[in-house]
């Protein structure tokens, strides 16, 4: 039985400016969620994931189409919405819960559980401005964790906090799933999507380009992110192609319009999405001379990596004559396909992005 039915939903923003152009944030989105189903939504930044969830949350109205929901529904775009720093933890539980539409009575029934789950019992009557950010986050999540709604939509709300917190959150979401609730899960965490969702929607420039089994969705998404080449806005770089397997990667690109035919200085960085550099490759490290012909050059970079499954960011440096021509920060993403490191089922519980072979034995 379908509990959410979205028919041709669209959202168009009028962009301010002389040309009065419009932005189609979501185009003709049509899908259904069945009772007890966990469905993922993936897509690049700006693909329309958040807008789609905002439409379902009722925060903004669609410009076309309709959506029907049956049963109680929570759309969580954020944790701890409305938290007031001067109120105590206890008061903030009531405040946040009632903003989410939970009555005072229902909250008071769950209060003890929420406080226990949050792990901030000792400070529950202190104003939350005295809390650390981690404590606030735990309190906020504890409220969500005790929501009784049938359908829950989550937008990256768990992409905060440390890894232990993330694990706790994911466990709770799996519990929701076990309880037979319907979950709509927006995330950049592809392995979490892979584990949680049997079905996944892929969004690209506002349209749902795929709706089907998660493994196929992830493959398609990998193709999409790897063929980002055409979209890199650069004077010098074109035809960027990126390929990644679980242990190797390739970056192909062409250079054009180079000012001289002097030797090139190239740098390729692979980093996490939050900007930490993990690998840095440069032709200068290996004494490889690259000299362009007719101001153009074709470059192939091959490397080995030990990254765990997920999405990483590629940045490219182009220099000549000791001068920077261009620094393309986060030019494209590098996707390491889902696999089970060490044959272990849960790459998320491995901290950090690197997986290396190791042995542990009793001696």
């Amino acid at each position: 039985m379908s509990v959410v039915k979205v028919i041709g939903l669209g959202k168009t923003y009028l962009l301010k400016g002389k040309d009065k152009s419009v932005l189609h944030a979501v185009k003709n989105a049509t899908f259904e969620l069945n009772e007890g189903e966990s469905v993922g939504i993936i897509g690049r930044n700006g693909a329309g994931k958040s807008t789609l969830l905002k439409l379902l949350a009722g925060v903004t109205l669609p410009t076309s189409g309709e959506a029907f929901i049956t049963g109680s529904f929570s759309s969580l775009l954020e944790v701890g919405t409305g938290f007031h720093p001067d109120l105590s933890g206890r008061d903030n539980i009531f405040l946040n819960a009632s903003i989410l539409g939970v009555s005072k009575h229902e909250t008071s029934l769950e209060l003890a559980n929420i406080i226990a789950f949050s792990g901030v019992e000792k400070f529950i009557d202190q104003p939350i401005r005295t809390y650390s950010s981690g404590m606030k986050l735990r309190l906020a999540f504890a409220i969500i964790a005790h929501l009784k709604t049938d359908i829950i939509a989550l937008d990256e709300v768990l992409a905060v906090g440390d890894s232990m917190f993330q694990i706790k959150c994911m466990e709770r979401i799996f519990e929701f799933k076990k309880q037979g609730r319907t979950i709509l899960f927006v995330s950049h965490n592809l392995s979490a999507i892979n584990k949680l969702c049997e079905r996944t929607l892929v969004l690209e420039s506002g349209s749902i380009v795929f709706d089907g089994p998660t493994d196929e969705a992830l493959k398609l998404y990998a193709d999409l992110t790897n063929s980002q080449s055409g979209q890199v806005v650069s004077k010098y770089l074109t035809d960027l192609e990126i390929g990644g397997t679980k242990s190797e990667g390739t970056v192909l690109f062409s250079l054009k319009n180079l000012p001289t035919n002097a030797a090139l200085d190239l740098g390729i960085n692979i980093g996490t999405s939050d900007g930490i550099s993990l690998y840095h490759f440069s032709n200068r490290f290996i004494n490889c001379d690259i000299t362009p012909e007719d101001s153009t050059a074709k470059i192939e970079v091959k490397f080995e990596h030990q990254l765990k499954p997920g999405n990483y960011s590629i940045s490219i440096y182009i220099g000549q004559n000791e001068q920077q021509l261009e620094w393309l920060s986060n030019a494209a993403s590098f996707l390491v396909p889902a696999f089970n490191p060490h044959g272990f089922h849960n790459p998320d519980s491995i901290q950090g992005p690197i997986i290396s072979n190791f042995s542990i034995s009793q001696s």
Binding site: K5, L9, Y13, K54, L55, L56, A57, G58, V59, T60, L61, P62, T63, S64, G65, E66, A67, F68, I69, T70, G71, S72, F73, S75, L77, E78, T81, G82, H84, D86, L87, D91, F94, L95, S98, I99, L100, G101, S103, K104, P127
Partner: protein, 284 residues
């Protein structure tokens, strides 16, 4: 198809009716109103060193200043009642309007962070603001009564209660409805016309001078009397003073006019607010 629609608990559509007043929905969220009210009151209490003492200090200093400037220097008429009592009466009720209006007119900008993340009937925010301002008003009202009591018992004057005192709850309701109505109109307009924000501060001061806060209606020259006659705030202030101090110029007709005016303002406000609440998130 239409029949099927009825089975859904939530329907999301591009536009809903112009004339839709979400009263039922607001009632369903009444817990949130009370929690917002509590938040506002507790926050004021905890944020400042002197806490609710400010509720007393501000009107006392205002009355001292008015007494000196308008009473002593300008020697303005106060309808035959002691000057401090007259000014205290005016600032108490006017102060409620001012506080409540200033806060509600900031609804969209002040709540943008919450409105952007969670849906609840947006009217909840200004409604709870008007109610929480009532708390401050209540404290100031007690102070005014203490003041009044002192003058009635220990000083020689004409102060006395009249039957208009029974209109007090209605007067408060009128003031809160008016501040809510104008407040939500202004808050709706400021989302589109940001300049309006600069006007609010001195606009409210202008309205105060146009209302019988520091002068009685009886002191307004005949050639200007149309001014106070059309000002919907004037009958409320006069009726308040007539009830508590025995001096004031007001008739039932004046109050009915004022009440009708307020209802129209409130209705326009609700419609305008409802239009803006649907598109507001797209403009910030």
């Amino acid at each position: 198809m239409a029949k099927q629609e009825e089975n859904w608990s939530l329907v999301i559509k591009p536009q809903s009716n112009w004339l839709h007043l979400p009263l039922k929905e607001i009632w369903a969220y009444r817990d949130l109103v009370m929690i917002f009210v509590r938040r506002d009151i507790v926050a004021v209490y905890k944020q400042t060193v002197l806490g609710p003492l400010w509720f007393f200090l501000a009107p006392i200093f205002t009355v001292i200043a008015y007494n000196f400037v308008f009473g002593t220097i300008a020697n303005m008429d106060t309808d035959g009642i002691p000057k401090p009592v007259f000014y205290m009466a005016g600032t108490t009720l006017w102060g409620y309007f001012q506080t409540s209006f200033t806060a509600t007119s900031n609804t969209f900008t002040g709540n943008a962070a919450i409105f952007g993340k969670v849906y609840f009937p947006r009217m909840i925010a200004p409604i709870s603001t008007v109610i929480s301002s009532m708390f401050k008003f209540g404290i100031q009202m007690l102070m005014f009564l203490a003041f009044l009591g002192y003058y009635m018992v220990f000083e020689e004057n004409t102060l006395h209660f009249t039957k208009w005192i029974f209109a007090f709850p209605i007067l408060v309701l009128m003031m809160s409805s008016l501040s809510l109505g104008i407040g939500i109109i202004v808050s709706a307009l400021t989302t589109k016309y940001r300049d309006l924000k600069n006007f609010i501060g001195f606009g409210i001061t202008l309205v105060m001078y146009a209302s019988p806060v520091i002068y009685p209606v009886s002191a307004v020259p005949d050639s200007y009397s149309w001014f106070t006659r059309f000002n919907p705030i004037a009958p409320i202030l006069e009726a308040f003073r007539l009830g508590f101090t025995g001096a004031g110029t007001v008739s039932l007709i004046d109050l009915i006019y004022s009440g009708s005016f307020i209802l129209i303002v409130l209705f326009i406000g609700l419609l305008l607010f409802h239009q803006v609440e649907k598109t507001f998130m797209d403009t910030v």
